[in-house]
Amino acid sequence: MKRRDTLKSLLLGPLASSVIASTACSVNHATNNRNKKNQINWTSLPTSYSYGRTEIEKQADTELFSETYFREHELITIAILCDIILPNEHPNGGALDAGLPDFVEFIVKDRERYKLPVRGGIAWLDSRAIEKYNADFINITEGQRLSLCNEIAYPDVNTPELQPGISFFSLMRDLTVTGYYTTALGLADLGYKGNTPNIWDGVPEEVLRKHHKSYEAEWLEKCVDNSRREIIAEWDDDMNLIT
């Protein structure tokens, strides 16, 4: 938990252009002054969870939380990538508002098979950045970073030397999108309306009309009449429901 707090606001090397917006703190707009410290802030995830666990599962989760896998450099890189993939500048917030890269940090530990691909992908990205712009990914300009992302964001690109980057970016995109849409911000962005007790009574009329669908009368007869759902079910001997 201590580690998370220190990660929450990280000191970056100087950036040439504007920095990632933060959730609560003021945004440091970069100037040409290379001595100014810049910050990435993101919303942390809860430090404890209570969601119906057996003892052995609680223990396994605690071990995962205290495990350290990513180095600071990697976490900052992840943060920047998540922010590029789903920026905060949106009424429903973005990846950093929604608790990425903490989510990525946890899920990669949880799903061991992602550990090497993410580490290796970051290293690949850094080497590409150095090759093209003489500095690693987090230390080049925003424009240069986006330029690199443009190279690897599309699976239809066939260039052999870019394939590792394309795989890596696809993975980061998947983790970012899933990490976002499984938070309250993401659910609000999607507009999901379920997970609450209700009485299902079929597809709304206007939606049926839009899709040129309707319920067959014969089928409806087999369906529940919700005005009578509280009445205890009784049948006649021919198996007909009579209540």
């Binding site: 969870y49 209570s50 969601y51 057996t54 396994a60 939380f65 590029i84 993939i85 789903l86 920026p87 949106h90 429903n92 946890f106 899920i107 949880d110 799903r111 964001a153 599309y154 699976p155 239809d156 970016f169 995109r173 998947d174 999108v177 899933t178 499984t182 938070t183 309250a184 659910l187 962005d189 507009g191 309306k193 379920g194 997970n195 609450t196 007790p197 209700n198 009485i199 299902w200 079929g202 597809v203 939606v207 899709h211 319920y215 089928w219 409806l220 087999k222 369906c223 529940v224 009449d225 009578r228 759902r229 509280e230 009445i231 205890i232 079910a233 049948w235 198996m239 007909n240 429901l241």
Partner: protein, 568 residues
């Protein structure tokens, strides 16, 4: 504890064990229910996962080794359990599921409640394969009727020849993607009817709630509106009868006396790791098909050298699981959907029962279709390949930035999927037996599986793929991925993957080719019974649970009647 003797010891608290507990306790018998897993109550808040949002789990509901169907799935158990290995003979690749909690698999099962039909009890008469059951539909129908009314199932009476009518609660209306499937099925001449599932869409009794359509049945239901053995059978029995519940207790074997009759069980208490003996006049094994077979095979004595009840050498044999295959499609007409609460009950509201005549096909047994899709709650994996369907629209896949939000929204709920579940042919050589070299963490010898699908199942899977492709396209879908071919066995699931194992202690009239009689009573030992799916002679293209409960009730009635007649 040492001197107490129970009337009945029941091993396993799932569908069969729970039903036997309920019936025998109601008859006034003194019952011990032994469960290998822990106590579990879905209504208890500290164990509850129902109605939790994805962010309440650090992995957003993703699966874990201990919960292979998802972090919120109520089944504690899996194919791969700590300390409980099993082995495979040759290139067998059998997946063996164990549930380890009160209520067993009924906590997370799909609630699909299908009666076997008249044809399902006499398959050998029809296609010459396998064997007929020693009973017919008429023998079990009264019990199906009773289970419908006790446990509750929604559906509709359709007058179908091999998918019998029942005492159904009314069905929930189809969802939008299901309406698309209905249209596609009609075009293809394939029947589709309301699903038959064990959720209470209408009040059944004053003890259990009415479904509030959260779609999370697999998380187990806090208001007990769907069936799990613990909530609907075990708790009432605990409250109403003389039932002692032993959890975290792993049965090693059935103990016998010098006459070869059972005297009780010996079990390991997982908390203090000591072994205990429990005395009972009757033992009912309902630990699931392979687990009960394992207990019998491990219960060797001088009178039962090959394992208890195994004079026929049939314990563990004729093991078979359902076949399965699935496919999905993108439905362009479902892009940019209006969003409303479409959770419904867990899983499909409509399904397709087997509709063809196998005499005209190149495989002998049938399968049914389960329909998937809809605007479900996001959980880990939601948004993966968020805009892959762009390829069908001539747009670019991938990218980054706020445009991804539009893509996610555009494609939300625009998918239709079909899962087939079919009947396999029981084979004498498909079996589980004891591995002579390996024990589990309590020193109990483990099972070794020897299992091969035959061409009957592989050709059935080929047909499944053709059916699914036709229906998905007829429903307006663009099928996804590549259609599995022969080198992938047409996408046929692995044995054990569907978790419908049956047949390991099959019933019969001939004691040289069966383990139990029609009442689940061991041919060799009259005070030992099996009340799980081990007694099935064949499994039908229908999920086992309803039949397990009907047979367990029938077995319980028989036990009660035999005790009254002092035969037991």
């Amino acid at each position: 504890m040492a001197e107490e003797q129970y009337d009945v010891i029941i091993v396993g608290s799932g569908a069969g064990g729970g039903m036997a507990t309920y019936q025998l306790a109601n008859a006034g018998l003194k019952v011990a229910l032994i469960e290998a897993g822990d106590y579990y109550d879905p209504a208890a808040d500290e164990q509850r996962t129902q109605l939790r949002y994805p962010w309440e789990s650090p992995r957003r509901g993703a699966s874990t080794r201990r919960r292979p169907f998802g972090d919120y799935n109520s089944c504690i158990g899996g194919w791969d359990l700590d300390g409980e290995p099993y082995t495979q003979k040759g290139d067998t690749d059998f997946m063996w599921w164990r549930g380890r909690m009160l209520g067993g698999r009924t906590n997370h099962w799909g609630r699909i409640a299908l009666r076997f039909g008249p044809l399902d009890f006499r398959r050998k008469d029809i296609d010459g394969l396998g064997d007929n059951w020693p009973i017919g539909y008429e023998d079990i129908k009264p019990y199906y009727d009773k289970v419908d009314k006790l446990v509750g199932v929604f559906g509709s009476n359709e007058g179908l020849p091999n998918d019998p009518d029942g005492f159904f609660l009314p069905a929930p209306k189809p969802r939008l993607h299901e309406l698309y499937f209905i249209e596609g099925a009609r075009k293809s001449g394939v029947p589709v009817i309301p699903a038959r599932k064990s959720m209470l869409t209408k009040r059944l009794n004053n003890e259990r709630g009415i479904c509030f359509y959260c779609g999370q049945c697999s998380r187990a239901c806090g208001i007990h509106a769907d069936f799990s053995s613990s909530t609907a059978l075990v708790y009432p029995a605990l409250n109403g009868g003389q039932v002692d519940l032993f959890t975290n207790s792993m049965v090693r074997e059935v103990t016998t006396n010098s006459e070869g009759l059972a005297t009780g069980v010996s079990y390991i208490n997982k908390k203090d790791l000591k072994e205990y003996e429990m005395k009972g006049r009757i033992v009912v094994l309902a630990a699931s098909a392979c687990s009960s077979a394992r207990i019998l095979l491990n219960s060797k004595s001088s009178q039962h050298e090959n394992g208890l009840g195994n004079s026929s050498d049939h314990v563990g044999r004729y093991l078979h699981d359902s076949t399965g295959a699935s496919r999905a499609a993108f439905l362009p007409d479902l892009m940019d959907r209006d969003i409303y609460n479409e959770d419904g009950v867990g899983g499909m509201h409509v399904y397709t029962p087997w509709w063809l005549d196998n005499a005209t096909l190149d495989f002998p047994r049938g399968y049914h279709l389960e329909i998937g899709g809809g605007m479900g709650m996001p959980s880990y994996g939601f948004g993966f390949a968020a805009n892959q369907y762009n390829e069908f629209l001539g747009e670019r896949v991938g990218g980054y930035g706020n445009q991804l939000r539009d893509d996610v929204r555009k494609f939300y709920g625009a998918r239709l999927s079909i899962a087939c579940r079919g009947e396999s042919v029981p084979q004498y050589t498909n079996r589980c037996e004891i591995d002579p070299t390996m024990v589990d963490e309590w020193g109990i010898p483990v099972l070794r599986f020897d299992y091969k699908w035959t061409d009957y199942e592989i050709l059935q899977a080929r047909h499944m793929q053709d059916s699914m492709e036709d229906l998905l396209q007829a429903s307006g879908g663009i099928v996804l991925g590549d259609k599995p071919k022969a080198d992938q066995e047409y996408g046929l699931t692995k044995p054990g993957e569907i978790i419908h194992e049956v047949g390991t202690t099959r019933m019969g009239d001939n004691p040289t080719t069966s383990v139990t009689n029609q009442f689940g009573q061991l041919n060799d030992v009259n005070n030992v019974f099996v009340a799980d799916a081990g007694t099935f002679v064949s499994q039908a293209d229908k999920n086992p649970t309803w039949t397990i409960m009907a047979l367990s009730w029938r077995t319980s009635d028989y036990i009660i009647e035999q005790m009254k007649q002092q035969n037991l």
